[in-house]
């Protein structure tokens, strides 16, 4: 049982009086949240999100938006941390927010700050940014209407990251494998002109690698031989498309 101490010599609060105990600091009501690509979410997660927004509000004065994304928004409670992006023109130290969130919920908050222009540029050229916003919850409405700008050299750079899976299958954890596969498939679909969403990419992964559920990959329970044959095939196909794009861009520049 918790106890509250009050001065012995006091005005009011006679013995036997009923009283209300409430914190001095009033909780500010959080305005409605904006949901993107979320079909359902556990109510407790909404409460956590609202509380984190309150913590951010108490620590940072100027920012444009807070976007929650990542596995925290997936069904269930298998997430490792809460990914949130603070849209602000000024990068700050978020250690106090992280600490407060951890003390309150025992969950690590992974905070990233981006300026409006960086996010906008990322959405134009990077498939992963599109996936990121396709399933998200934000404090304010998200207004980014961008067209895909295929930059083959950037995609080449992004795809090269996924090459590590081929030689390092045994060393990588399930989640690391999933991130690398997702990166590659997202680039492949992006080159096909698809509008990317997390579900679209996950479904494509399931189809390509004959998985019943994406958790098979995340939990590392896949057949190495069959997986790598397919993986190399898609990697090479995607890489060829990128090289072809680089070649065509170079020809186009020569003509101009």
């Amino acid at each position: 049982m918790n106890q509250i101490y009050i001065p012995k010599n006091r005005f009011g609060f006679e013995t036997g009086n009923y009283v209300i105990i409430k914190p001095l600091e009033e909780k500010k009501p959080t305005e409605n949240l904006f949901f993107y690509g979320i079909k359902e979410i556990e109510p407790i997660k909404i409460e956590i999100i609202k509380e984190i927004i309150r913590i951010v509000d108490n620590n940072i004065k100027e920012y444009q938006n807070i976007i929650f994304t990542g596995s925290f928004l997936d069904k269930g409670f298998t997430f490792n941390d809460i990914d949130l992006i603070i849209i602000t023109e000024e990068e700050k130290n978020y250690s106090s927010i992280k600490e407060e969130a951890y003390n309150k919920f025992g969950i690590k908050a992974d905070i990233l700050s981006l300026s409006n222009s960086s996010l906008s540029k990322g959405l134009e050229t990077d498939p992963l940014y599109q996936i990121m916003l396709s399933k998200s919850i934000s404090k304010n409405r998200i207004f980014y209407k961008t067209k895909n700008k295929i930059n083959y050299k950037l995609l080449d750079l992004h795809l090269l990251k996924s090459k590590v899976l081929i030689e390092n299958f045994n060393l990588l954890k399930g989640n690391e494998k999933y991130n690398l596969v997702r990166n590659m498939i997202a680039i492949y679909l992006y080159l096909e002109g698809k509008k990317l969403t997390k579900d679209l990419v996950d479904n494509q992964i399931k189809e390509d690698f004959h998985l019943k559920d994406i958790s098979e990959l995340k939990q590392n329970s896949i057949d190495k031989k069959k997986f790598l044959i397919k993986y190399k095939l898609i990697y090479n196909k995607t890489f060829s498309k990128i090289l072809e794009g680089i070649k065509n861009d170079a020809k186009q520049k020569q003509v101009n």
Partner: protein, 113 residues
Amino acid sequence: MTQNRNKLIELFIGNISNSIAHEVLERAVIKDFMADKYRKELIVSMDLAKKYREKINPLNEPLPEKDINYIKNKIINRVKSELNLRISKGYKNIDLSITEELVLKALSKLNIS
């Protein structure tokens, strides 16, 4: 060298090569490339190379000269081959001349040389 050590060295070479090729390409697109913050969750080749280095003896001192030369030359060849593939398709601005310097820097950082 035992078979296991050879295998570890090859895996180390593969990851360092990938990491250096990435660095050279990053410099080639420096104007369009922004601080890649959201991609930080992707495991990178350098992290994996470190993991392999921790398994290659001797752990706390540089490798024998013979190994250093083998590793250095193989990484340089692999990086150049990866980059030349792109150059042959018309990729401009790839500076092959920085490869050796980056390789030496990486080998020293990981206590190979």
